[in-house]
């Protein structure tokens, strides 16, 4: 049994996980798929098909455009109708390939499956993860291949599977754990094989007792441990999760690898299993469509490139007009204004909020109540920081550790003055990062001279 350490701060938003009893439904085949070439953090994928080409399901559309990048595969068979751009959930315009389905959904030759992954070369397994275009499916969309390539001087000793799903409303990971536990356990063992690590922990919050039971059963005899965790947001945040399970603190500005851990989402882990044992690249994922206005909230296995509009139609539309449409969960998701956004590898949920649930941020001054201080899991001072940022004192904010913010939203959730604290932090981080980049570029230019 793993003893859990309580991390500082955190909140208890209402869970709203109404769709946790809904089985995962495979979404029917669509006529058109808009597949963005950048579904991950890093460089966009380089397109390898042309307009008019015929492609098969699982065929490569774009190859990685750099080290931190990921491959993109076709969600179905059909023709490349157009090479265009589409709107991403963050509002950026992304390069995209539009696939017109031929209705046959013919699969391309799968990548050769590893029959005996237990004995396979770890490097080959890792290469497969890269080939299959797997990225972190919890929302961060960091290319998994890169995550599994720690620097040589770092020794990884623990793998943590994130089945916490601390975001309210989302149930995709929960259902995945209930329905395909063995895939997750095997996927975890594959990661263990790649990194040469024995200790694997699956972290699940106590509000999912059925998942804990199922996963424990599936993990029996494999050496994989299941750790039930107290329900507290943001329990699923990488740094807090590692701390809760191992007592190690990821240093400021560092990656989990710095303390010998690798954290992987359960969805990602299942995808790794499929890529290695079935030779199936990542072109579909489980997404929760939910919210009060949605007629039939549920969990769907969407092909990448399905538009939000289609997703919503599958759920029977809405019963009332929503005030907000969110890509992701209510705490960290992004508000969008269009339904012509495709489901991507990192889309964990589509959430609609009704007018009653809408909370408007206000420009009022900080009351200095200190609640943000009490809930900040990074023990920062969001109140003081936001005032500094409001007065454009970015250097001061950097001194007060604004760069450590994980944008979990606990502070803005609790703020009685309704200040958009997270937004302030984001701005400061963007400004500081831009300044750092500019300084680095200047230094590089000076070095060239």
């Amino acid at each position: 049994m793993i003893t859990q350490i309580r991390f500082y701060g955190g909140i208890h938003p209402s869970e709203g996980k109404v769709s946790n009893k809904e089985d995962i439904i495979n979404a029917p085949l669509q006529e058109l798929y808009t597949v963005p070439l950048q579904q991950h953090i890093g460089a966009p994928a380089k397109m390898v098909v042309q307009k008019g080409d015929h492609v098969l399901r699982g065929q490569l559309l774009g190859e990685p455009g750099g080290f931190v990048s990921a491959a993109v595969h076709s969600p179905t068979s059909g023709t490349v109708k157009d090479v265009t751009t589409c709107l991403g959930p963050a509002g950026a315009t992304l390069p995209a390939v539009v696939i017109e389905s031929d209705g046959e959904d013919k699969a391309a030759d799968p990548l050769p499956p590893f029959e005996n992954w237990q004995d396979a070369d770890p490097a080959a397994l890792k290469a497969r993860v890269g080939e299959a275009g797997i990225v972190g499916m919890g929302g961060a969309t960091f290319p998994t291949f890169v995550k599994l390539s720690p620097p040589p001087n770092v020794k990884i000793d623990t793998i943590i599977l994130d089945g916490v799903e601390c975001e309210p409303c989302l149930t995709a990971d929960h259902r995945l754990m209930l329905e395909t536990p063995e895939k997750i356990v095997k996927g975890a063992q594959i990661i263990g094989r790649i990194l040469g690590v024995k200790r694997i922990i699956i972290a699940i919050e106590l509000n999912k007792p059925d998942a804990i039971e199922t996963m424990t059963k599936a993990a029996e005899g494999t050496g994989v441990e299941v750790a039930p965790l107290v329900v507290r947001y943001p329990q699923g945040a990488e740094k807090q999760l590692i701390y809760a399970l191992t007592g190690r603190k990821v240093p400021s500005g560092g990656l989990p690898a710095a303390v010998g851990c690798v954290v992987s989402n359960v969805g990602t882990t299942a995808a790794i299993y499929e890529a290695v044992c079935l030779g199936k690249p990542l072109y579909e994922r489980v997404t929760t469509v939910t919210g009060t206005p949605v007629v039939k909230p549920g969990n769907y296995r969407f092909r990448v490139g399905t538009l939000y509009r289609t997703a919503l139609e599958l759920c029977g539309g809405v019963s009332e007009d929503p005030a907000k449409i969110i890509s992701g969960g209510p705490m960290m998701g992004m508000a969008v204004y269009s339904l012509d956004i495709p489901v991507m590898k990192g889309t964990s949920g589509i959430l609609l909020l009704s007018r009653d649930e809408l909370v408007q941020y206000s420009p009022s001054a900080c009351l200095r109540c200190g609640r943000c201080n009490d809930v900040c899991p990074m023990s920062m001072m969001p109140g003081i920081l936001s005032a500094q940022i409001e007065h454009q004192k970015f250097e001061l904010a950097e001194k007060w550790h604004v760069m450590d913010c994980i944008e979990c939203g606990s502070c803005a959730y609790i703020c009685p003055a309704g200040r958009p604290l997270v937004q302030h932090m984001r701005r400061a981080k963007a400004v500081v990062n831009a300044k750092k980049r500019a300084a680095a570029a200047a230094a590089a230019a000076a070095a060239k001279k």
């Binding site: 751009t85 709107l87 963050a90 992004m334 508000a335 969008v336 941020y361 454009q392 302030h424 701005r427």
Partner: protein
């Protein structure tokens, strides 16, 4: 009498003490940098590329920078500084900022209600702002707040406008604009500008804005050779060879306009 003597004696003693301290602990300041600093305009606008007037003065004094990069310095001052430094005066070409967007409330569509911090960078990070065009001016006034000369105004129709007579061409607005809508162009050639920043295809652009450049090339044909450049679907003025003002009449979108 005795009072004068006493005062003199104490004065001499004190002078001696100061002299000793200076001799053993004295530091040498750079008098050149100090003199330059006094001459600087003191706007601290950063247009020279340094952190402020003092920083620039120091850089000039140590020979790390040349005079003439300051956008808000009068010619007289520049001459004085050059004399101090013993170099030839050379001033950069005067520039002016232009907001390359026609996307005010009458032209562009509003796709959502933005709720949050009143800052362009912030708005852009939330679903790309609430205007239909994802390349245009967001109209929240980050540039106006950054301008040290008060030369930028946010019109009631939510688009930024530069007042060329107040603008010194320091480029602060260019660096804060998250959409890179504001461009610094040679003042002498800034009579005609293309007020659009979107590289999108014409139909996409037309859907979200009725004032954007559709890349019809009419202006290119009407103007002299190499006076208007077309890059993809977006025309731009060649500021090295600016077209005559009459060319604005051919633009069907009223996107190629005289500077206002």
């Amino acid at each position: 009498m005795i009072d004068v003597v006493m005062l003199t004696v104490v004065g001499v003693l004190m002078a001696l003490a100061i002299g000793l301290v200076v001799k053993y602990f004295g530091a040498k300041a750079d008098p050149l940098a100090e003199k330059l600093g006094e001459l600087m305009p003191g706007a601290n606008c950063g247009g020279c590329g340094f952190a402020g007037c003092g920083d620039y003065a120091n850089a000039m004094a140590t020979g790390k920078a040349k005079p003439g990069n300051c956008p808000s310095m009068s010619d007289d001052t520049l001459k004085k500084i050059c004399e101090l430094l013993g170099v030839q005066a050379e001033k950069g070409e005067p520039k002016v900022a232009v907001v390359c967007c026609s996307g005010d409330d009458h032209h562009t569509t509003r796709v959502a209600f933005y709720n949050g911090v009143n800052d362009c960078l912030n708005a852009m990070m939330v679903a790309g702002g609430a205007k239909g065009c994802t390349y245009g001016c967001l109209g929240l006034g980050s540039c106006a707040r950054a301008c040290p000369f008060g030369a930028i105004e946010i019109l009631p129709t939510h688009v930024a406008k530069v007042h060329p007579d107040l603008c010194k061409g320091c480029g602060k607005c260019v660096s804060v604009c998250p959409r890179k809508v504001i461009k610094l162009v040679p003042r002498a050639a800034a009579a005609v500008n293309v007020y659009c920043n979107s590289p999108e295809k014409a139909p996409v652009k037309k859907k979200v804005c009725s004032g954007g450049c559709i890349g019809c090339r009419k202006c290119m044909k009407a103007a002299g050779e190499n006076q208007i450049l077309i890059n993809g679907f977006l025309a731009s003025v060649n500021y090295e060879n600016p077209p005559a003002e009459s060319v604005t009449e051919v633009c069907p979108m009223k996107c190629l306009r005289k500077a206002d």
